[in-house]
Symmetry: C2
Subunit: 264 residues, 2 copies
């Protein structure tokens, strides 16, 4: 195997100007990398991010800098394919940042390619410590794998080598534990809004629920009326939800799931 | 209105020996209260907790100390009624600790009664800082309300006066954001167990999801394929769940809920 130059990746092009482009660009800049270019759809968006990162900007993928070491496609899942198709061939490593797209989306066009997937939910204006965010790496070759892992370790303490099949399964798990958990918090917010209490009253309960599940195992920390088989409380809850059929449906499905999974 | 003696509550009887009895008993002892007695079903259980709290113990509710200032019924929801029925009449304040039982469960038997509901999930052997736990107070009179609030403020910085209707709604919200969230974490654990990755890899994502929802509003922090209307990803996810119909059902119901609530 080739010796790997740990300084291989120095010059980086960021394609996209969304939330992840901002978060990742800032983390990479802070870690000492040179963001040579930002590619965006409008001069306003790409110019703003480029200024933040001390980079140049262009608004056409045709004008992409051909001599960077790494191209990070921070674009939404549904246009990754199109960007890969229209971007000029480059020698540096092209990576996408999607949890749900496989490595096969790159086809045969590039010599060096892979995936750099940060497992986190990103929002505009919210500061995050990148060092704690797991980064999942996959590449088209052993050498590129090693290069990307060493690169990622500059911004995160949690770098994993993961193939597409596993990453896609992880992404599905993330939908359950992040998107659906947020939806449940939104249900909580809706119910609390019918009282004089603040939504914040639920915070320490939710935090302890999460910490307990991760400190031991969520299969051991299940509690509540469904686990206890407390039909009196469950019936009373469903009665309270009779004017909210969508919440009653969630309540029933979860109660059945908990009963079947844990009460045996 | 009477002047309230802030030292009114000094001597406390704890009825029950479960997780909450341990957590609350320890917090009260640390705050300087005198636990005069523990009432439990077996000498082993009540003796163990009594020793921890420097209290006496009895194994029959008939032998309850009649001269305490406060009686805390740390028993499960389904036997509260029975304990209230069989316990001798006392002059001190009797409180139950249930989120889902109303104040009417006390009937007409006692002169002084109420509810002391700590909104948290308790586990054996897990240390909790009581001071952060919201405590919801209700009592049969304005004077007892004030007494219980002043008392609760010795162990918590988050004491609320809440009537039974609001508390029962809050308890329903707690089922969604704690019991059902734990069930989703258990789904995540199940999916991750089919990879070589540790469940812990999801921790920073879940923590940020929760913190973001409470820092702003979960209605503003929803993300994911359902919100984006990304049917390609949703179909692929359902395909992956075809051998797990119970998870496919949860996935579909949540996706519809998110679509209807947030995508309008």
């Amino acid at each position: 195997m080739d010796m790997i130059d740990i300084n291989f990746i120095q010059k980086i092009v960021i394609i996209g100007t969304g939330k992840l482009a901002w978060h990742l660009g800032s983390a990479l800049k802070s870690a000492g990398f040179e963001i040579v270019q930002v590619v965006g759809r409008t001069a306003e968006k790409s110019g703003k991010l480029a200024q933040e990162l001390g980079a140049q900007f262009v608004v056409s993928i045709d004008s992409v800098n051909l001599y960077a070491d790494l191209y990070v496609l921070c674009v939404s899942d549904d246009i990754i394919h199109e960007v890969i198709k229209t971007m000029p061939v480059v020698n540096g490593i092209c990576v996408h940042v999607s949890g749900s797209k496989g490595i096969d989306v790159f086809g045969e066009k590039y010599k060096n390619f892979g995936i750099f997937y940060p497992l986190q939910t990103f929002s505009e204006g919210r500061k995050l410590n990148f060092i704690d965010i797991p980064i999942l790496i996959e590449a088209n070759s052993e050498v590129n794998n090693k290069k990307l892992i060493m690169f990622a370790e500059n911004v995160s303490n949690n770098v994993f080598e993961v193939n597409s099949e596993e990453r896609i399964k992880l992404h599905l798990a993330a939908v359950f534990v992040s998107n659906f958990v947020n939806a449940l918090l939104s249900v909580g917010n809706e119910l609390i809004s019918e009282t004089n209490l603040p939504f914040r009253i639920l915070y320490s309960l939710v935090l302890e629920t999460v910490n307990k599940a991760f400190d031991s195992n969520p299969d051991h920390s299940q509690t509540g009326p469904a686990l206890r088989g407390d039909h009196g409380t469950m019936d009373a809850h469903l009665q309270m939800l009779q004017n909210k059929p969508e919440l009653a449906a969630l309540y029933s499905l979860f109660s059945n799931y908990i009963t079947q999974k844990f009460s045996q």
